[in-house]
Symmetry: C2
């Protein structure tokens, strides 16, 4: 792919076998759990790309920081919280701001039918598949300002730094802004990248809804009116894709490391559980006569936790983030409940065993409490392995700048999960304070962001841009 | 009170000692649990009020049924469900309909500052304290059409039947429509009757809120703008008060009885529990690091159930009807949860022991899960004993009409709970299908409603009207 480079990428099948903890390993030590590879303290493995500048000084960290602040101001929640729901006014204003920054950097911007936005720095050979970077800018209710946005604005600054350094990339470099990585509005995460990777049928335009309005209707009302059939990219459309992101976990901070080199992205699955019991007056229905939908939901939520813990691996996580009761009155026995459950693991078989345990527990609760329990899968995606050449490129970038890094898995899922289906993909993690994310106190330091940003630029060079 | 009557009422202090199950009685048999008094099948104890017509034929059950149907049409939920929130448009339309019916029956209508509505049939001696009947017409979300409304429209028909029978009551008879028996909007039940009984400080006009708007602001916007200080009634303002109501429990139907003669109303208590945990990304926060507010809430809800069951008495009920999560996103660990809990018992000490168990369980959950749990009492009312002369009057009315009745307690609370503080009070229960209430399939038969309505008229006569 990169003729003349000292490092050749082997993008067709030469994927890293997952660096996953072996079954018998103890669950206590984070390095073990993270499949610690060559280790963060080994002497650098990096191979300098001949003639490639160390672009450290070129990254304007302060500017990225200011832009992150401005972007955070487009929020439905008061600062420091950020709430930015896809296709709502704040999302559209955030997109407009990012597109303006891209135009300022002379990037060519185009958008697809679902609002995925592509900003291209044309390379010397525009016919070659470009390299790409990017992330998302939507935010769940009451979230923070770094999730997704660091990958967008950091990616943009990486491009600008290369521009300022006088680079003339051979391949074009794309900055990609993905639509609705968060599932808040339509119930499914990575909406834009799923469609890009043809991992979602375009008929979802009619079937996915928000408050009764279809995705098609909502996107059209915000100006995205093309056919969803036109969204999927061809495999090979990109030579490489890398996403810069905060870790959203505590490991890099605990180990005082600069960069996480992601080797695999956990397999997420999510489902809705509908419980139908029997309502009635809270004062009048005797306890033995009750079929309380909330108590059934409570038991299922605790069973979700127990199922995740039962695997003995800290790579397994499961969460019940939504519980809605009907009628939801203090003096009425809940007749219906709806749970939304998220299960992830790097090992899809182990994840599926957790799902099976949840199903069994639900059945047990249903028969014991005399309620009906129906579960509806939302998604069950396989894990993604990052492309070995990308991993190598990121490791090389770290070595070149003497950054301390760790090969690690991502438990959170990202648009890279789907980009990996159509392009060699990888992720660069930077530490975030306390591992906190999806909260107003989410924080990544300006230094960490600058390190990550510099790494993106370097990756792009290693990847043949 | 009723000179010349063969039955004299002793309204000052001659209260029935509660007909509550003794401690050592088994908890299995419903008659025991209900403090079965003279028993439904004993030969009639009734003493006919000399010269008093059996008004059966006078009750126009069909008309009440039609009026219940019309009233049910004022609803925010589609039929058969009824949702009618106090001071919302449907509540105001329902009130207007009832006031029009009262005016048609030549009753004099006035309203107090919180919207309690009084429709008076003037007696021959209007200076005597009137006798009264009535109930409420608000309905929780997705409720049925009989809760409260039977007592309002049945009470009205009882008055009309007496009018048609040519009665000239000595005492005035009031039909009372209480404001906000349901706690849906302001979080506290029996708002109108609490204020009538001076059981609530008038400052609640400022402190009780709905979506950030104060009770004072909301009531003023619907035309009820007087001072809440003017709402309380003097003790003795009424010679007697009786509320006709569906049982909201299964006992009368199971035992094939016509009437429940309420001897006491259970002691309700309610509280809110606020749980503060730690949020975070559902994929990234490791299971052992979590402080999930929902899982804490789930354990507390199950502890509420266990505490109610632990008393061994079916007179104890406890319900967790509200559970709200924050941020409430599928991929976010819940950081905060709010529960609303309702606990009732006929024995206030036993009820308080349940509350204490809930507190202990909450403390345990808090320390085990590393979350903070704060509980805020909403109310903890003592039980009310019905006045013996009223009980006797209802029993006599049943005997006179050879209705099969049962002395029973009310687990649901009612406006009578507060009316009993300022007047001798009692309740007439009629069976409802399956004991179901607070649900769209709530149902009481036209016959049952007619029986209850006739009993109200007869009570009014026995009570000296």
């Amino acid at each position: 792919m990169v003729p003349g480079s000292r490092r050749r990428f082997h993008l067709d099948g030469a994927l890293l076998s997952a660096m996953v903890r072996r079954d018998r390993q103890a669950a206590g030590e984070i390095p073990d759990l993270q499949g610690l590879g060559p280790g963060p303290w080994r002497p650098g493995l990096g191979i300098r790309d001949s003639g490639f500048d160390d672009g450290d000084s070129a990254v304007d960290g302060e500017r990225v920081w200011r832009e992150l602040e401005t972007l955070a101001s487009f929020s439905d929640a008061p600062a420091p919280a950020v709430t930015r729901i896809v296709f709502d006014e704040m999302d559209l204003r955030a997109r407009a701001y990012i597109k303006a920054l891209c135009a300022e950097a002379s990037l060519l911007v185009h958008e697809d039918a679902v609002g995925n936005t592509f900003a291209r720095w044309l390379g010397r050979d525009p016919k070659l598949p470009p390299v790409a970077t990017g992330s998302h800018c939507d935010a769940i209710p009451n979230a923070g300002r770094f999730d997704g946005t660091v990958g967008v604005l950091g990616g943009l600054e990486a491009i600008r730094a290369l521009q300022r350094a006088g680079c003339q990339p051979r391949r074009s470099i794309d900055l990609v802004l993905f639509t609705s990585e968060e599932p808040t509005r339509f119930g499914i995460g990575c909406l834009g990248s799923r469609l890009l990777a043809a991992a979602l049928d375009p008929s979802v335009g009619d079937t996915l809804t928000s408050n009764g309005e279809s995705l098609n209707k909502i996107r059209a009302s915000t100006g995205f009116s093309g056919a969803l059939n036109d969204v999927p990219l061809q495999t090979g459309a990109y030579a490489a894709f890398v996403e810069l992101h905060i870790e959203q976990g505590p490991i890099l901070e605990r180990l005082k490391l600069d960069i996480g080199v992601v080797t695999a992205i956990a397999a997420p699955a999510s489902l809705r559980i509908f419980i139908e019991g029997e309502g009635g007056h809270a004062g009048a229905v005797l306890m033995p006569d009750r079929h309380d939908a909330f108590l059934a939901a409570a038991e299922i939520a605790l069973a979700v936790e127990a199922a995740a813990r039962s695997t003995g691996s800290s790579d397994t996580v499961a969460t019940c983030g939504v519980c809605e009761l009907f009628p939801g009155a203090i003096n009425s026995v809940p007749s219906r409940a709806r749970l939304e459950i998220d299960v992830r693991d790097i090992d899809p078989a182990r994840r599926d065993s957790v799902l099976a345990k949840i199903r069994r527990a639900s059945d047990d609760v249903a028969s014991r409490r005399g309620v009906t329990v129906r579960s509806e899968p939302i998604n069950a995606d396989p894990p993604a392995l990052c492309a070995q050449p990308i991993i190598d490129a990121i490791v090389s970038a770290c070595d070149a700048r003497q950054l301390r890094y760790l090969r690690m898995i991502s438990r959170a899922y990202h648009d890279s999960l789907f980009m990996s289906r159509i392009a060699p993909a990888g992720m660069i993690f930077i530490p975030c304070r306390g591992g906190v994310s999806h909260r107003p106190d989410e924080y990544a330091s300006p230094d960490a962001i600058a390190h990550g940003t510099a790494d993106v630029g370097r990756y792009a060079r290693f990847a043949g841009a």
